[in-house]
């Protein structure tokens, strides 16, 4: 009997003991978990800190060259010769501007010509690309699929490889130095047509078009008053990139324009590479700043749309 009790109590004790150790182990485990979480948290913090550091450095790398440029555009050539790197602006803006414009660089002419060309080609590109895209989405015609394949096929042909023939043809009809030769080709922009078609295909509702037809609207009017407004988001994206591309284009204007009254902004910039500005450090930076500053300001205002536009499918044109 006594033995039995003893045994039982022993068993109890041992049971209790195991319980205790289990409990202790559990606590330990919890503690280990907490420590691990803390470790992970700390590790996470360090990793995030590292990522932010890299991102901030990259962001600075994007800004820094432009910052130096803008600051140096306010400094005199003598100041730059002494210390080419400074983060603090000086007071030589007007002098630099006078030296700059006293030579071949004419920002007003460049700005005006670039505005005319960029605005003209942007309007033509978005309008006719939308129209062509509509033709491919709304109507059934025999050559439609062949036409679409053709557009994809020629989308990547760059201006560079066709320039010799283009220049010779333009030269033959005496149209070099005509801004129209830089604007009219914008009617045929295969990449923009492709983008517009991809946008319109899932969005266009033929029911609306049919309803308008019943109301007696002509096809052309339907496009202008119903379809075009529907395409606004795509048009906005394409317009921004078309404008920027046209604004930044150097190759075609450089080949076609020889008259300095017709120079675009990028050609004006290329003049800063010439010998007449060789030692005019301040005014070279001023010239560069004049071309960059409007772009940066517009970019920062529209950045939300531009970033979204690139992401939308990365169609840049």
């Amino acid at each position: 009997m006594a033995d039995e009790v003893k045994e039982q109590s022993n068993a109890d004790v041992s049971e209790q003991n195991t319980e205790k150790t289990e409990l202790a182990e559990g606590k330990k485990a919890i503690r280990v978990n907490v420590v691990a979480d803390k470790n992970a948290g700390a590790k996470n913090f360090i990793v995030k800190f590292g990522i932010h550091t890299v991102c901030i450095l990259l962001a600075l790398l994007s800004i820094f060259p432009f910052w130096i440029m803008i600051v140096n555009s306010t400094r005199s050539t003598v100041q730059i010769q002494e210390h080419a790197l400074s983060l603090i602006p000086s007071t030589y803006v007007i002098q630099n501007f006078q030296i700059l414009t006293g030579k071949s660089f004419n920002p007003a002419v460049g700005l005006l010509n670039s505005l005319i060309i960029s605005t003209g080609s942007t309007l033509l590109t978005v309008y006719f690309s939308s129209l062509t895209a509509y033709a491919m989405v709304a109507y059934d015609w025999k050559l439609k699929n062949a036409f679409f394949k053709f557009i994809i096929g020629v989308m990547m042909i760059p201006a560079q490889v066709t320039m010799i023939g283009f220049y010779q043809a333009v030269y033959a009809v005496g149209m070099t130095n005509k801004l129209s030769m830089l604007i009219l080709p914008a009617i045929a922009a295969p990449a923009t047509v492709f983008f517009m078609r991809q946008y319109l295909y899932p969005t266009l509702s033929m029911e609306i078009v049919q309803a308008a037809r019943i109301d007696g609207a002509g096809e052309f009017r339907i496009f202008n008053t119903i379809v075009l407004p529907m395409m606004k988001p795509a048009i906005a994206t394409q317009a921004i990139f078309c404008f920027v591309n046209s604004w930044n284009n150097l190759f075609t204007p450089l080949v076609l324009l020889t008259d300095s009254k017709k120079y675009t902004m990028p050609i004006m910039v290329s003049l800063l590479r010439g010998d007449i500005y060789k030692t005019e450090y301040g005014s070279v930076y001023m010239g560069l700043t004049l071309t960059v500053l409007p772009l940066i300001i517009i970019y920062l205002i529209l950045s939300k749309y531009i970033i979204a536009g690139v992401a939308l499918g990365g169609v840049k044109s």
Binding site: K48, I51, C55, A59, S62, F66, I68, L85, L131, T132, A135, M136, A138, Y139, D140, K142, F147, K149, I152, G153, M155, M156, P158, A159, Q160, V161, T162, I164, G165, F166, Q168, A169, L184, I187, A188, A189, A191, F241, N248, N249, L250, F251, T252, L254, P266, V269, R273, Y281, L288, I296, I306, I307, V310, A311, L312, G313, G314, V315, K316, S317
Partner: protein
């Protein structure tokens, strides 16, 4: 087709009418110039005021001349080398940033401002950037020399722009700097297009970040990666603004690309339009070869029915920028 057939036939002619302006402009401003360029490649067209054009006795003479011209061979080599030296780091960094910015567990803050700033160089005029970098690295007076001397890394101003390797490296760096933000945005939009359930499943299974990235993210953006590769390559083959204005193709033709070669042959003093045309056609065929890959890619995507317009860079065509 999801659209009703009724009424479509009657209106079919508008398909032709509405695409006519595009077709005419394309014929006049693109197709004719291409054919004319090809034709000039077989002729003796050169000189300031070109006279009558004759097809050469050996029509392929210009092509042979260009292909055996060591300057052209060098230019082709430079073009590929500079593209490669910018594309590998460009894609690597863009992928890294994409992995960081799309991480679902980190939910990184401040992404918007990083994206805006990292992408910014891409929209700035390449001509300006070329001359800006020339000014930044110039000899003897330049900000880079100034800081290196001030910090004590250099004893006196060093001419960075005289070494061939350094010059190529800098052109590649400028291209990299201008384009990694763009590539990053494209890749991020690709990753955001992946079905989130796949990532959730992987998280439940306890996959590590590394595993998720290599086994889920990368395979799912394969098409976009290939797309980026092809568009960047075609853009890189047309690189013009930066090599033309940064060091004018020098030193010793080290940064002379094929586009600059074509321009120089025709428009800066030698007026060898026929040689330039032949070189253009050679580049045309190289580009068409890579372009056909793109064609197959897009057509495949389109037949999926889920055609999501992936990156098509026309900027690269116009600017000769993307690389």
């Amino acid at each position: 087709m999801r659209k009703k057939k009724t009424g479509m036939v009657k209106y079919g002619k508008y398909g032709y009418i509405f695409s006519l302006p595009f077709a005419i402009a394309f014929l006049v401003f693109q197709l004719y110039p291409i054919l004319f360029t090809a034709f000039i490649g077989f002729t003796d067209l050169k000189g300031v005021v070109p006279g009558e054009i004759h097809v050469l006795e050996n029509p392929f003479e210009n092509f042979q001349q260009v292909l055996t011209n060591p300057v052209f061979q060098g230019a082709l080599g430079n073009t590929f080398l500079i593209w490669l030296c910018n594309f590998i780091p460009q894609l690597s960094l863009a992928l890294l940033l994409t992995a960081w910015f799309t991480d679902r567990r980190w939910k990184l803050k401040g992404q918007g401002i990083y994206k805006v700033l990292i992408y910014m160089p891409n929209i700035i005029t390449a001509a300006t950037i070329a001359i800006l970098f020339k000014s930044l690295f110039d000899y003897p007076v330049s900000p880079v020399n100034d800081i290196l001397v001030k910090v004590g890394i250099l004893k006196e101003a060093h001419n960075f722009l005289i070494g061939k390797g350094m010059a190529r490296g800098l052109v590649a760096f400028i291209q990299f700097w201008m384009w990694y933000g763009y590539t990053m945005l494209i890749l991020i939009s690709g990753v955001l297009g992946i079905n989130p359930e796949i990532f959730e499943a992987a998280e439940v299974d306890g996959a590590s970040r590394w595993q998720v990235f290599w086994q889920i993210t990368i395979p799912n953006i394969k098409t976009i990666l290939l797309f980026t590769l092809v568009t960047s390559l075609i853009g890189g083959l047309n690189m013009f603004d930066i090599p033309k204005l940064f060091l004018l193709g020098g030193p010793d033709n080290a940064t002379l690309t094929t586009s600059v070669f074509i321009y120089n042959q025709a428009f800066s003093g030698s007026y060898l339009y026929n040689r330039a045309a032949a070189a253009s056609m050679i580049m045309f065929f190289i580009i068409m070869f890579f372009s056909s890959i793109l064609f197959l890619l897009l057509r495949e995507k389109d037949t999926d029915g889920k055609a999501k317009y992936t990156g098509v860079s026309k900027k690269s065509e116009k600017k000769g920028g993307e690389a």
